[in-house]
């Protein structure tokens, strides 16, 4: 039912007919039969012929980009109504296929249903509703304050779409990290190419199947492929590149972008510290810490990477962590349905090697099962600053605890590392929280809890320094994918006042100009 309404709307908006709807999904011929079965029903036969021949040829990447650019030029994406419809379709896509999504995520990461719903489905739905509710106000012209010389003019900032943007997702939250930026891009009126991560294959397949079914195929395309395809894709010219992933790849993205002077947004990771200091309700802190760390089996870019605390705190914390782990995952975590798995054998091996190389003492967990890609929730103590675990982002269910003696030492430790994506402080003394907040830098900050700051669409989500560049979520995503165009509409009058700036110059003219251009002229009452 809703499909047909979307279909007829599209036909209405674009003014083109069936041709719009039967373009193939680039790089994905397998689902074309699915697409055609609904989109071609009742259409003329030549369409079907053309459709199959097109899918056989398979559109190359540059053709996809070119096709989207054509659509963008036609101005289809500009009206608010169009964007709204696409956002609503996206909501429908997620809501109608929730079961399938959860299944795919389970296949990739053994994501428990709860985690999948919370961190992928709901956060997206929230964002979509938020964008839909606020789109009108975001798109409004922003009138700005004026000085005397421009008092009679219209001065405002227009949010304009950038063009064709590329969103590259990551495998740890295959849906959220791909579609959440896309929400901003759609809201801002861009044409979007999304490139899901090839590592989370089931979700990739599902996205490639669903997106063309629900969204306009002329404006939004899914490109599939591995590192090679991505490299080739990046050679094309885009108007913005939004990348989520690792620093190493980010560098090559940035180099590729510099060829076309493409602006980029980089959402990278980093070792997010978690500092416990002073009076802490250990039971609550341990529960929240464990939840944040082992959520998605530690494969979150904002997961606490390591814990910093005094030796005394550690002694109190360890039993609480042990107790919480039993409460949460039982005595046999491998059997618990609430613990995810590592994404691929390669990542599993890497993590186990890392654990093996570490000189720290394993106090909880440490076991792994290669067949199941399972690693038990692990806690290590006596980890030195130069330990193998402290050299890179861990991105797995391994939690080293590092001891510092004072708060200053802890802050100094944090500042010695690269700026993290998130910083967590557990303390019931607000002075401790304040001190850490003031003396450190990080993408986001959350005290007495983990991860939660990224669930709010009103807060910008993004890194600083080596943890990223640019931000998104809610309005911030919209702004990321918009160009803020300064507009000044002047009249023909007041040529006398204008005449002041023309040569031949005199001293008197200069003093008048000085007065009129000053931001706080005495005529601010006007």
């Amino acid at each position: 039912m809703r499909m047909t309404s979307a279909l007829s709307f599209l036909t209405q908006v674009t003014g083109k007919s069936s041709r719009n709807l039967q373009g193939t999904t680039p790089g994905n011929t397998r689902d074309s039969s699915v697409c055609s079965s609904w989109s071609l029903r009742g259409l003329r036969g030549w369409c079907r012929l053309r459709h199959t021949s097109q899918s056989e040829r398979m559109e190359t990447q540059s053709q996809v980009v070119e096709r989207l650019r054509e659509t963008f030029r036609s101005g289809v994406t500009l009206p608010e109504q169009f964007r709204r419809t696409q956002l609503t379709n996206l909501i429908a896509m997620i809501e109608e296929n929730e079961e399938q999504i959860i299944k795919a995520l389970h296949k990739d990461l053994a994501k428990p249903k709860f985690e999948a719903v919370l961190s992928e489905v709901d956060i997206l739905i929230n964002e979509l509703y938020y964008a839909n509710a606020n789109l009108n106000s975001w798109m409004k012209r922003e009138y700005v304050t004026k000085n005397l010389a421009t008092k009679l003019d219209d001065c405002f900032v227009r949010r304009e779409p950038l063009g064709v943007v590329l969103v590259i997702g990551a495998w740890n939250y295959p849906l959220q990290l791909l579609l959440l930026p896309m929400v901003g891009a759609i809201a801002a009126g861009n044409c979007v190419i999304i490139k899901p991560s090839e590592i989370s294959a089931a979700t990739e397949q599902l996205i490639a199947e669903l997106v063309p079914k629900y969204l306009s195929q002329d404006c939004y395309a899914v490109v599939q492929g591995g590192a090679e395809e991505t490299k080739a894709l990046l050679k094309n010219r885009f108007d913005h590149i939004f990348y989520t992933g690792s620093q190493a790849v980010a560098r090559s993205v940035l180099v590729a972008a510099s060829v076309h002077l493409t602006p980029v947004t980089l959402e990278l990771g980093g070792k997010c510290p978690c500092l416990l200091y002073g009076a802490v309700n250990m039971a609550a802190a341990a529960r929240r810490l464990v939840w944040a760390k082992y959520f998605n089996s530690g494969q979150s870019c904002v997961a606490p990477d390591y814990v910093l605390c005094t030796p005394a705190t550690r002694e109190a914390l360890l039993p609480e962590i042990q107790k919480t782990l039993v409460d949460c995952f039982g005595t046999e975590p491998q059997a618990s349905p609430d613990l995810g798995r590592i994404v691929s054998p390669r990542h599993w091996t890497h993590l186990m090697e890392l654990l093996g190389r570490s000189k720290g003492k394993v106090v909880v967990g440490g076991e792994g099962n290669q067949e199941d890609k399972y690693i038990a929730p692990t806690v290590l103590v006596d980890v030195a600053e130069d330990d193998a675990l402290m050299q890179e982002e861990i991105f797995g269910p391994i939690l080293p605890i590092i001891c510092v003696d004072t708060l200053e030492e802890g802050i100094a430790f944090i500042n010695r590392q690269e700026k993290p994506l998130a910083l967590y402080v557990f303390s019931e003394e607000s002075s401790v929280v304040e001190t850490v907040l003031k003396n450190t830098s990080s993408g986001g900050f959350c005290s007495n809890d983990g991860i939660l700051h990224m669930t709010l669409p009103s807060l910008p989500f993004g890194g600083v320094g080596s943890s990223g560049w640019g931000n998104y979520h809610g309005r911030w995503g919209f702004e990321t994918f918009s160009h803020r165009r300064a507009c000044m509409l002047r009249g023909w009058g007041l040529e006398m006042l204008n005449g002041l700036r023309y040569p031949p110059y005199t001293e008197r003219k200069l003093s008048w100009v000085r007065w009129s251009a000053s931001p706080k002229s005495m005529c601010s009452l006007m």
Binding site: A133, S447, A486
Partner: protein, 510 residues
């Protein structure tokens, strides 16, 4: 050498000196004092660099800088304050805000056409945002760069805001070092190199580049006034302005009139021989002089066209009926040449603009407001001014910056501050209210999951029509219930309603 300077700057930043607002204000005041006290020296340096009129320097650069400083001093407390934002049910009792924070050491690479404005305006933002900054003025505007290097340490903190001078190789050397932000103003070619160098350290960049800014004159407009404004914008600073109108688009029927009006205005502005006018500038160096002269080759100008290599002088020049594929129309002119390209109508002009790279600025001269709005809607550019040129640059409340090939990022006023700050998302929770949180921890079941879904929903108040109607209905019902409750209470308390109602207040008191 540079390495040590940057190292020292980073240490100075890490000392935390820039964090208090008082310090930043004090530095801004010092910078303002510098501009006020050294105005003549600055004008003289520019006279030597590009023979700029002594009135033009304050007009084009110093007034703007001064206003930017004034604005920053006035608004700094507001800009730097944490901004509270909306919450959801789970975070309802917490503090949620965005805290602007300094990034660290910023590299500011200026350009030679406006050596002061293009280095100091970003610097003002860097100081206001609490960053340390390494300032690298262009080596082409030699006198200004040397003066800046001499003046800045005398007024500002020496360690935090050093000035580094040097040519291409020094700049390359500098770019190899790690900064927390690079702010570059200049050409697209170098912009690409800057971005590539920044990739190594994943440094965010702001690029303020140029481009061919089109200027469309509609036949339905006050052509005299339009030409006066264009002539000023084009030939000020000898055409070496990144937002100067690069070429004119108009219909063939008004071309003659446009040329005539520009000719007259030039006479008004610079007299019969612009070379003798104290208000007309020069090309910055021989290389650029040759480049601009080269662009003109093969075309006969209808106005101007004279040049003098010894002085790097090129007269204000207008060229008619320039073919769109000529060399002059392929690269940014950045000199006093004004080609006129004819188009059949406004739609043709829009098409012409959209076929090319996105420009830094777009100028539309048209008396029909609807038509100019249509043109704004169907094109894109860094900024746009209708019925005037360059004025959008002068307003610090408007973001200034390019899009596509004309740059990325924006600055001026608060926009500079935001560009050079990190917007840190802060969520300050407490360890209490654990019962609300219990729902999200494993082991999971259906009931708990539903509660979390509910708690994380945001915004708390959705703005749909249905909610609105419900809210209004509920309010009316609630209000009605409240009134009846009051009446019941009054009656219950033994007050005889009819009694005071009939007698009225008057009788009650007397």
């Amino acid at each position: 050498m540079d390495r040590q300077t940057v190292q020292r700057t980073r240490e100075a930043f890490l000392s935390g000196r820039t964090r208090p607002l008082e310090f930043r204000l004090q530095q801004l005041h010092a910078l303002k004092r510098m501009i006020n006290e050294k105005e003549t020296e600055i004008s003289t340096a520019l006279k030597q660099d590009i023979n700029r009129s002594q009135y033009d320097t304050p007009l084009l650069e110093l007034i703007g800088i001064e206003n930017e400083i004034k604005l920053a001093i006035d608004k700094l407390a507001v800009w730097a304050a944490p901004r509270p934002v909306e919450r959801n049910l789970l975070t309802i009792s917490d503090e949620v805000y965005i805290q602007p924070e300094p990034l660290g050491v910023v590299l500011i690479i200026g350009a030679w056409n406006y050596p002061w404005a293009l280095t100091l305006v970003p610097l003002i933002g860097a100081i206001a945002a609490g960053n340390a900054a390494v300032v690298k003025p262009s080596e082409l505007s030699e006198y200004s760069s040397l003066l800046l290097r001499a003046l800045l340490p005398r007024y500002l903190d020496k360690d935090l805001y050093p000035v580094v001078t040097g040519g291409v190789s020094e700049t390359q050397e500098l770019l190899r070092l790690r900064f927390d932000h690079v702010f570059y103003t200049g050409s697209s070619t170098v912009g690409k190199l800057v971005m590539e160098a920044a990739a190594r350290h994943l440094t965010p960049v702001t690029l303020e580049l140029g481009g061919k800014s089109p200027c469309y004159i509609d036949k339905n407009c006050d052509i005299r006034t339009a030409c006066r404004r264009i002539t000023w914008g084009k030939f000020v600073n000898c055409g070496q302005t990144c937002i100067a109108p690069d070429f004119i688009l108009c219909e063939p029927c008004i071309q003659g009139q446009v040329v005539e009006c520009i000719r007259q205005t030039l006479l008004e502005f610079y007299g019969a021989d612009p070379k003798c006018s104290p208000d007309y500038g020069r090309i910055v160096n021989q290389r650029h002089f040759n480049r601009v002269i080269g662009l003109m080759e093969g075309y006969t100008p209808v106005v101007g066209g004279q040049s003098d290599a010894s002085q790097c002088y090129i007269a204000p020049t207008v060229l008619k009926d320039v073919p769109p594929q000529s060399r002059m129309m392929q690269e940014e002119i950045f000199g006093p040449l004004l080609p006129i390209v004819t188009v059949s109508d406004m739609d043709d002009a829009i098409h012409f603009i959209n076929e090319r790279e996105k420009p830094l600025a777009l100028y539309i001269f048209c008396s029909d407001k609807k038509a100019s709005k249509k043109m704004i809607g169907e094109t894109t550019s860094g900024g746009v001014t209708v019925n005037d040129v360059m004025m959008h640059y002068t307003l610090s409340s408007l973001p200034f910056g390019g899009v596509g090939q004309s740059g990325m990022g924006r600055y001026h006023g608060k926009h500079t501050f935001d560009q050079l700050s990190h917007q840190r998302a802060c969520l300050i929770r407490s360890l209490g209210m654990e019962s609300v949180n219990l729902a999200r921890y494993p082991p999971q079941d259906r009931r708990r999951a539903r509660r979390v879904r509910m708690a994380l929903r945001s915004p708390l108040i959705d703005m749909s029509k249905r909610t609105f109607i419900w809210a209004v209905t509920a309010t009316i019902i609630g209000f009605g219930l409240f009134i009846s409750l009051l009446v019941i209470l009054l009656i219950a308390s033994g007050l005889n309603c009819t009694c005071w109602y009939w007698r009225g207040f008057y009788n009650y008191f007397y």
